[in-house]
């Protein structure tokens, strides 16, 4: 028992569940009734613009900020009441990693590990540093570490106590493409090999698309959408490159087909089965078709679409 916190778990056994989480600073409500459930084994992406509330949410999860209303569960521990117990099963990185610069990487890990309140074998530090690839520089002072090495040290400190959940705030911010790739691979490896649930917030949507299996889009403190990445990227539409735009547009008008244009393509909301019939009809009207392909959308497009109030519009339409 830690300072009156009872070691009892509740019914919820999701890795992380936010229930009506609200945070107000003065008159400014920065988190508005956030509800979210992250299952064990997920690599979950938390997307949002600057000031959307991502970091504030992560700070609430780590007990740095107290919610004004609502609560959350971490592997069944009801927080903020049982926050210290919850933090025993999770590790993370809030904002930019910061260390005691005059101490070595090893000393930093030992100090931060000592705050876990558990006796961990000495090998835990070695193990974590090896896992993130900084073992060779562990005995150098942190002040000489590069940004990427500090990020890795940040992930290492989160891993030392063998957490079941790690929460990473912008883990690839400020890294070069190679660094971004290696952190991505590391995260996926941790999830796959050690079955660690990962929650990460990021601006780099292409990375989130490659790394995460589920995402949530947060905007001005509200969660607008939560779904598996595959589902978000699925777009039942086909894009046509057409040689006779006027005729095509006239045809779409007659048939009452809503369309959009992007990069010279006409995007039609039709399924794969409807494509042959559409081609036949357009052929009958002498509409020249150069190219037909299923439309691939990116997480960036989904994100922009969602934060613009759900309107089905694209930037260059």
């Amino acid at each position: 028992m830690i300072f009156g916190e009872k070691e009892e778990t509740t019914i919820s056994q999701a890795a992380l569940e936010l229930v009506n989480l609200t945070k107000t600073f003065g008159e400014n409500t920065v988190l508005k009734n956030l509800c979210l459930k992250i299952e064990k084994g997920d690599i979950f992406g938390f997307l949002g613009n600057n000031g959307a509330g991502k970091t504030t949410t992560i700070r609430v999860i780590f007990g740095l900020i107290r919610p004004t209303k609502g609560f959350f569960h971490v592997f069944g521990f009801k927080c903020p009441l049982q926050i210290t117990l919850a933090k025993r099963v999770m590790g993370g990185l809030v904002d930019i990693p910061a260390f005691y610069e005059t101490l070595t990487g090893r000393e930093n890990l030992e100090i931060l590990t000592a705050f876990t309140g558990r006796t961990l074998p000495k090998s835990a530090v070695e193990e974590a540093s090896r896992l993130v690839g900084i073992h060779d520089i562990l005995d150098y002072p942190v002040r000489i570490y590069s940004n990427g090495q500090k990020r890795r040290l940040g992930i290492a400190q989160a891993l030392v106590p063998h957490p079941r959940l790690i929460v990473l705030d912008e883990p690839t911010a400020g890294l070069d493409p190679e660094g971004v790739k290696s952190i991505r691979e590391l995260i996926m490896d941790l999830n796959r090999r050690l079955n660690i649930t990962v929650v990460l917030s990021s601006h780099v949507l292409s990375e989130v698309q490659k790394t995460c299996n589920r995402v949530s889009i947060i905007h001005y403190g509200s969660i607008l959408k939560t779904a598996p990445v595959e589902e978000l990227l699925f777009d039942a539409s086909y894009q046509f490159k057409i040689s006779t735009p006027e005729q095509a547009e006239k045809f779409f008008l007659e048939k009452n087909i809503t369309y959009q244009t992007r990069n010279g393509y006409y995007i039609l909301p039709i399924s794969r089965e409807e494509v042959p019939e559409m081609v036949r009809e357009m052929g009958l009207r002498n509409i020249g078709i150069y190219e037909i392909s299923p439309r691939q959308i990116t997480l960036e497009e989904v994100f922009l679409q969602t934060v613009k109030g759900g309107k089905n519009e694209y930037p260059d339409t």
Partner: protein, 271 residues
């Protein structure tokens, strides 16, 4: 105690930690040299008085009460605010440590540091004094800083415990300032803001206690008790004066520590 060890590990790599100690030890040594060459003490020697080596640490108490608070205020004021501004505070608080545990580590640190700087300086100067003058009983003036009012002898053993008690009194006085600095540090987010606030407060108190209108409030101001350790240096120890001053000093210590702890416990760490 585990948190204290962690705090000591952190400060041991910080230059500022040693800077204050070096200054204080250096002052002690300079005072020793001054006593050795002080012409005003020559007549005493001519009268056949023996200068005990304990004179040197005894005289060092005064600069300790002046410089000690400045040194500890820098350490205490930086302790939480510095971690906050560097970002290590959020790193530590994201671990399964309660804020009380973290805060208590800082409290233990300032207690240990306050006593360490005072007693280590006393030890250094005592060794220097014994080398320069040897041991033996201490002769103190009946009226401090006034040799014309006669003298009294203090046996070496009694002189030692009087010196140790004065050392404790100075340490607590220093700790009172450190506690106030810790209080400011618990909510400020600039590592120098807390030491500056504390030193501004000290200056303001010094001015206030000299203003006629505020004289009745002077006994409640910490700066008013700057010399309360001298109660152990007079012939008949003024226990009442000592304990009333000690009470004020303890109120500042408790107020700073408890106030800072409460603020730190409930503060949203957004930096």
């Amino acid at each position: 105690m585990n948190t204290l060890i962690l705090e000591l590990k952190k400060v041991r790599a910080n230059f500022r930690t040693y800077f204050g100690i070096i200054i204080l030890w250096g002052l002690g040594v300079l005072i020793g040299i001054n006593v050795w060459y002080n012409p005003s003490l020559v007549p005493l020697r001519q009268f056949g008085f023996h200068l005990s080596g304990l004179y040197v640490p005894g005289l060092t108490l005064y600069p300790l009460a002046v410089v000690g608070p400045v040194v500890t205020v820098l350490i205490a004021g930086e302790s939480i605010a510095g971690e906050r501004i560097r970002g290590t505070l959020r790193m530590v608080l994201s671990k399964p440590v309660t804020r009380q545990q973290f805060y208590m580590g800082k409290v233990y640190l300032i207690i240990v540091y306050s006593f360490f700087i005072v007693f280590s300086t006393l030890l250094v100067t005592a060794v220097l004094g014994l080398i320069l003058f040897g041991g033996g009983e201490v002769i103190l003036p009946n009226e401090l800083s006034n040799f014309s009012e006669g003298f009294f002898n203090v046996p070496a053993e009694e002189a030692l415990w009087r010196l140790a008690s004065s050392g404790i009194a100075v340490s607590l006085y220093v700790l009172a300032f450190a506690s106030v600095a810790l209080f400011f540090s618990s909510f400020l987010n600039h590592s120098l803001a807390s030491p500056v606030f504390t030193l501004v407060m000290t200056t303001a108190f010094t001015v206030l206690e000299n203003l006629e209108f505020f004289r009745p409030f002077a006994p409640y101001l910490i700066t008013h008790h700057f010399l309360y350790w001298q109660n152990f240096m007079v012939h008949e120890i003024d226990w009442l004066g000592f304990f009333s001053s000690l009470g004020v000093v303890m109120v500042y210590i408790a107020g700073g520590i408890i106030g800072g702890g409460l603020i730190f416990r409930y503060r949203d760490e957004t930096d």
